[in-house]
């Protein structure tokens, strides 16, 4: 996946470059609007991360210029959380919008959502180690025996399973499972994970649901020696 970052803030550009590279993207960085525009035209990127506040030519202008020639998905970044900014950006053809300070996990999740649009359908059966999930019948099994999950617990498990190996922040989980798209400042997600973990991992040697402190949760099969 090829990705372009247009960002003048050196530190931001640097950590985005490194972080997204490690997520498997091939990353190019432009420091000014005109540079970003030139790169966007000459290469075929899968997605562009575009800062609004740029020297010489601001993000909106770059977006407008790109949109006259290409339909590459664009995710805008801004430090100003103003509705008119958001509306402005989306009207000019931005595909999504993130306000600084944002969490890196959130950015990754949004980038995946933007690039996944229009892709083929997702599978209806998921298998992670000895955990099996049937998304159609909404049933989950561990080592063949059915797990007794509430609707929300199933939704949570399905979300984690679909993004296997990917860390999901509490905000993303609250948004996807409960449709609460704001920082609720509550520990609802923690409690929910705790309960789900008791049902999914409870009696089993091999743990699948892991907490990444300070970041979020991930569902994956880990090698035994890696476990703390």
């Amino acid at each position: 996946m090829k990705l372009l970052i247009v960002e003048d803030e050196v530190k931001t550009a640097e950590y985005l470059h490194r972080g997204l590279n490690e997520q498997g993207y091939t990353v190019d960085v432009a420091r000014t609007g005109p540079d970003g525009y030139a790169l966007a035209l000459h290469h075929d990127y899968d997605v562009i991360v575009l800062d609004v506040m740029l020297p010489e030519m601001d993000g909106f202008a770059v977006l407008r210029a790109i949109r006259t020639r290409k339909q590459t998905p664009v995710l805008m970044l801004t430090a100003r959380d103003r509705v008119d900014d958001r509306v402005h950006g989306l009207r000019e053809g931005a595909d999504d919008y993130l306000v600084k300070p944002f969490s890196f996990l959130e950015l990754v999740a949004r980038l995946q959502a933007v690039t996944r649009r229009g892709r083929s359908q997702e599978p209806t059966q998921l298998r992670i180690g000895d955990l099996e999930i049937d998304l159609l019948s909404r049933k989950a099994y561990r080592t063949g025996s059915r797990l007794d999950l509430t609707a929300k617990e199933f939704a949570l498990l399905a979300l984690l399973a679909r993004r296997e190996g990917q860390i999901l922040s509490k905000t993303v989980i609250a948004e996807q499972v409960w449709d609460m798209n704001f920082d609720s400042n509550t520990n609802v997600v923690e409690v929910a994970i705790k309960r789900l973990r008791a049902k999914v991992d409870g009696p089993h040697e091999r743990k699948l649901l892991h907490t990444i402190r300070g970041m979020g949760y991930v569902l994956e099969v880990r090698d035994e020696e890696e476990a703390p």
């Binding site: 509705v83 300070p101 609460m180 798209n181 704001f182 400042n185 402190r213 300070g214």
Partner: protein, 467 residues
């Protein structure tokens, strides 16, 4: 800038007095004119009556000679009053009858008329007397010079104009002085207002020595000062609170990073530090985001993504989200009533979630939280009630202030930074509503209203009672 009040008043006085004086002058002139006319007429007629009586008595030519001498005596030397007697017999005539008079009286018509004679204007009356003895029928004319009356009248009019103008000038000057004296409290007030310093916000304008008209102005001005002072005090406290709230995580970050770097550390140890740092940073991010949200509401941003929705439905969704917390706390929620209105769902859920979390935090195990939804006129009220320790009146008002905590202590509550209820207020404001809080019979109710009417200005006041 428009002209000063004193000058404007002086000009207005001048115009008013000009009007009054003119009216008086014209009336006087008119009355005098009429009186003069009447006076002249009566003089002419009196003289004619007298002469007529003598004429009637003198019926012979010899007697007529005596009459002539009498008439001569009655005629003043300056010619201001004249007599003529006209008849068919020259023996019984008197005076040198001017041609225009003879012409005029050719038909022997009697009556009063104005006679222009040698540049003088005279009022004259002619009357015919029947024959008596030797004397044939004669017409006697008595005339009085009216020029002197006219001169007097003209002099009087001139004097009136001069007096009137002088009067207007005097009134204008006096009016200016009076206005200045009358407005003296205003200028002393403005001096006082100028002496208000931004350093001492408790200063107010004095009310006592002021006239009633200014007292109203001053008390509303003082009211504005009150509000400024309160807002300023709140802002100062707010800044201190923000600094405090940010200081704790920052201190942790700096401290533990320094400790970590002071010695050689293994990778897991460093990872541990980074994870702990991340937690603190996340807290900072949450605070900053909440503050930005509040700032947007302060700047008058309104909810744009309004959708017509059932409030009870959204409350139920929020309750569903908080279900696990409710279960852990052993608290149940009952939703009463419903109303439909248009609002931005995520903002509504955020407010409802904050109110519910607040209620859960202040509820005992086994308690029930009641969410009452009611439509009152154009407003939808959402009130969350829980059983809890009564909140004193002075705290109720400030419950929605940022970082305000009833117990005064800054508990390091994980679940909110003391901004939860401020966010509820911001959400209400973005929907043209307000917030309310009351504490009665051991039940604490906190809630907000939403308005269908787009953002009414000043709709952010806190009332102690929603009713």
């Amino acid at each position: 800038m428009t002209a000063s009040i004193a000058r404007r008043l002086a000009v207005m006085f001048a115009w008013a007095s000009l009007g009054v004086f003119s009216l008086l002058g014209f009336s006087l002139q008119y009355v005098l004119h009429r009186e003069f006319d009447r006076h002249q007429l009566s003089e002419v007629n009196t003289r004619l009556d007298y002469v007529g009586m003598m004429c009637t008595r003198n019926d012979s030519a010899e007697k007529w000679a005596g009459l002539r001498a009498k008439l001569d005596a009655l005629t003043p030397l300056d010619g201001s009053a004249l007599f003529w007697v006209i008849g068919p017999d020259p023996r019984f005539e008197y005076g040198e009858v001017p041609a225009e008079l003879r012409e005029r009286l050719r038909n022997r018509t009697d009556g009063t008329f104005v006679l222009e004679l040698e540049g003088r204007s005279m009022l004259a009356t002619a009357r015919t007397f029947p024959p008596n003895g030797e004397r044939p029928e004669v017409q006697i004319i008595s005339a009085v010079d009216s020029t002197r009356f006219r001169d007097t009248l003209n002099a009087f009019a001139g004097a009136l104009v001069v007096l009137c103008l002088a009067g207007v000038a005097v009134v204008a000057i006096l009016g200016h002085r009076i206005a200045k004296v009358g407005l003296a409290p205003l200028s002393s007030l403005s001096q006082e207002a100028q002496s208000l310093s931004p350093r001492d916000l408790s200063q107010r304008l004095r009310l006592s020595p002021l006239p009633r008209e200014l007292a109203d102005l001053v008390s509303s001005f003082n009211g504005a000062l009150d509000r400024v002072e309160r807002a300023y005090a709140q802002l100062e406290g707010f800044n201190a609170d923000v600094a405090h709230e940010l200081r704790t995580p920052l201190a942790n970050l700096i401290g533990q990073t320094q400790v970590a770097l002071a010695k050689e550390r293994t990778a897991p140890e460093l990872q541990e530090v980074l994870q702990s740092n991340l937690e603190e940073l996340d807290r900072l991010r949450e605070i900053v985001n909440d503050m930005l949200f509040l700032a947007r509401a302060d700047q008058g941003e309104t909810a744009l993504g309004r959708v017509d929705t059932s409030a009870a439905e959204e409350v139920s969704k929020t309750v569903e989200f908080l279900e696990l917390l409710l279960e852990e706390a052993g608290v149940s929620v009952r939703v009463e009533g419903d109303a439909r209105t248009s609002f931005e769902r995520s903002l509504f859920r955020r407010a409802a979630s904050n109110l519910l979390v607040n209620a859960i935090e202040h509820s005992e195990r086994g308690a029930e939280i009641v969410v009452a939804i009611a439509q009152r006129e154009s407003q939808v009220h959402i009130a969350v009630t829980n059983v809890g320790t009564p909140i004193p009146e002075q705290h109720l008002e400030r419950l929605f202030d940022r970082f305000y905590r009833v117990d005064g202590a800054r508990r390091n509550s994980r679940s909110n930074h003391g901004l939860g209820l401020s966010i509820v207020k911001a959400v209400a404001k973005m929907h043209g509503g307000s917030v309310f809080a009351k504490s009665t019979n051991g039940c604490n109710t906190v809630g907000f209203t939403l308005s269908d009417v787009p953002a009414a200005m000043g709709g952010t006041g806190i009332s102690a009672d929603p009713a």
